[in-house]
């Protein structure tokens, strides 16, 4: 494993930077705020006894709704042994784009709309086969991506690169509490193995409390096991 200055375009730096993306989404993501990794400028790696392998990164992320860009410095420490602490991420940023509340107005409108609705939201296949999402479902696609980030963060290692491939199902659940509550079935794409992995999540969200994932469960994904149909 390379130690020291890394080529920022090569996969070790890119995989570590993707973890930073997932982390930022768990902290700051919402139906109107989703981050994507844009570019890695610098990367440095070293082994830290007792902790694992530490990556120090300079990168930029793009917030995909408002299309703004933020530069970050981050540290990702992957555990290498059983007794190492779990994955650790620390981010400092010179841009305060990460935790500003430019999206608060839209979030509040969305929240109030779905709090007042008598019927509960149900949607499938976001996006559909042609990459299309109905406009009223886009915030829930974003919410799915943010919620998936909790799973992707917990599943990430130096040997993985996760993206959310699709929200297969979203079902709004009745809730007496303030936050809206949803059950999500998502399909994640893991790039190194090229596998599609299905997860079910129980997700809550409100503008004030942000996104929380109360439960997450890996599911059997049936297509990989379907036998060939006879012609």
């Amino acid at each position: 494993m390379e130690t020291g200055e890394l080529n920022p375009n090569h996969y070790p730096a890119q995989r570590a930077a993707k973890v930073v993306q997932h982390y930022l989404n768990t902290l700051h993501g919402s139906p109107y705020k989703v981050f994507g990794l844009q570019k890695v400028f610098r990367a440095y790696a070293e082994d830290v006894p007792g902790s694992g392998r530490k990556y120090q990164l300079e990168l930029s992320v793009q917030e995909m709704v408002k299309k703004t860009t933020a530069n970050c410095e981050a540290e990702v420490i992957f555990p290498r042994k059983e007794d190492h602490p779990p994955l650790q991420v620390h981010v400092s940023s010179h841009d305060d784009l990460l935790n500003n509340n430019v999206s608060l107005q839209e979030e509040t409108l969305l929240y109030q709309q779905y709090k007042r609705n008598h019927s509960l939201l149900f949607a499938q296949n976001l996006p559909d086969s042609n990459g299309h999402i109905e406009p009223e479902h886009i915030p829930f696609w974003h919410l799915g991506a943010v919620a998936s980030s909790f799973v992707m963060l917990s599943e990430s290692t130096e040997d993985t690169l996760y993206n959310m491939a699709q929200v297969a199902n979203i079902t709004q659940l009745a809730s007496n509490d303030d936050p809206l509550k949803f059950e999500y079935d998502v399909l994640l794409h893991e790039m190194v193995s090229q596998e599609i992995i299905a997860w079910k999540m129980l997700v809550t969200w409100s503008p004030s409390e942000g996104v929380k994932v109360l439960k997450m469960e890996k599911r059997e994904y049936s297509v990989t096991n379907l036998k060939t149909t006879l012609l």
């Binding site: 996969y11 994507g36 993206n163 491939a165 794409h189 297509v223 990989t224």
Partner: protein
């Protein structure tokens, strides 16, 4: 006057919509129409069968000079779920056909070379990915479960005879990167290796089109192997990435698979390079993970436009290396170009 050509989007009256994803039946029909509309330079060639016994076809595009010609290979859709790739092959063909008579460089290239374009290589897999929402993300071909294992499909891009089965593969038939019972165990793999292998001295470029990731990958997938022309491949690749960026600002990273993405073996790109085809690249088109395989249709055109410039950069470089970059400057082609331009204008 020529209705087939207007159907193909020439003369600014598009009927075939290059901005949508098309099912296999429509792509096959389009191939037939293209060959009918341009009989002088386009032929359909059948060169193999899929597991489910569908005929694998390509479009051969080139002016018939009676001589043995150098060649460019392009295949799309080796992985079923990567729908933007077949969309690109169709766009690529339509661009060549729209420009070869008016663009002297393209005219020269189709005189000096033949383009062999396979819009969908893994036809069974592609059709399966159109079946319903549960099959959309299928990757492999549709060959049946091998003895002792319970799932179907082989990853065709791990099945070629190029360090087969050594790294970046799974031997579990249920996995997405299952490399098959053996090298070239799949009929789709054999189709390519027979066709290209029997003409390998003619081929200058082997471009295999995939998604997603915004990458240009050079041989080899195995970290212990370096292509003899690695430096050149990187320079030309970087030039292609520059050309791509100029179109819509998208950044494509360039490098070997083990550097940029992950090590692997048995890829068609590696096989082609081992055959001696010098300019062998894997294109991973848009996007970078936001939509992934389900790229919105309004991104088809910009993706195709940038990828076209990237591919053309590589193809032009390869062409110029052999044909000494001599743009034919004599007056005969110039007059011919003007006459054709007038004729084309008259039919609009």
């Amino acid at each position: 006057m020529n209705f087939s050509r207007s159907y193909l989007g020439v003369c600014n009256r598009p009927e075939y919509n290059y901005d949508k994803y098309h099912p296999m039946s429509e792509i096959s029909e389009w191939m037939t129409q293209v060959a009918k509309a341009y009989p002088d330079i386009v032929t359909v060639m059948d060169y193999g069968k899929t597991y489910e016994l569908r005929t694998i076809s390509l479009l051969k595009i080139g002016a018939d000079t009676g001589a043995k010609k150098k060649a460019i290979w392009m295949d799309c859709g080796i992985h079923a779920r990567e729908w933007i790739a077949p969309a690109f092959c169709q766009y690529f063909v339509s661009r060549i056909l729209r420009t070869y008579k008016t663009d002297p460089k393209m005219g020269e290239m189709i005189r000096n070379m033949d383009f062999y374009v396979t819009p969908v290589l893994n036809m069974d897999g592609y059709i399966y990915s159109w079946k319903d929402n549960s099959t959309r993300l299928w990757r492999k071909n549709r060959s049946p479960e091998p003895a002792g294992c319970n799932c179907s499909g082989t990853d065709l891009n791990r099945n070629f005879d190029a360090n087969w089965g050594t790294i970046g593969v799974s031997f579990d038939c249920c996995h997405a990167t299952y490399c098959g019972r053996g090298a070239e165990s799949e009929p789709e793999t054999l189709a390519v290796s027979y066709f290209v292998g029997s003409r390998k001295e003619d081929f200058l470029c082997f471009l295999t089109i995939h998604s997603y990731g915004q990458l240009l990958l050079v041989p080899y997938g195995h970290p212990n192997f370096t292509a003899a022309n690695y430096k050149e491949l990187m320079e030309v690749g970087m030039g292609a990435a520059e050309a791509i960026k100029k179109v819509h600002g998208k950044v494509y990273r360039v490098g070997t698979s083990p550097d940029i993405l992950y090590p692997n073996s048995g890829s068609s790109r590696d096989w082609a390079r081992f055959q001696g085809i010098p300019y062998s690249y894997t294109f991973e088109l848009r996007d970078d993970g936001r939509y992934g395989f389900e790229l919105p249709e309004d991104q088809i055109r910009p993706t195709c436009e940038e990828a076209y410039d990237g591919a053309l950069h590589i193809i032009t470089y390869a062409h110029n290396k052999v044909f000494n970059g001599a743009v034919v400057a004599s007056t005969v082609p110039t007059i011919w170009t003007v006459l054709v331009a007038v004729a084309v204008a008259a039919t609009v």
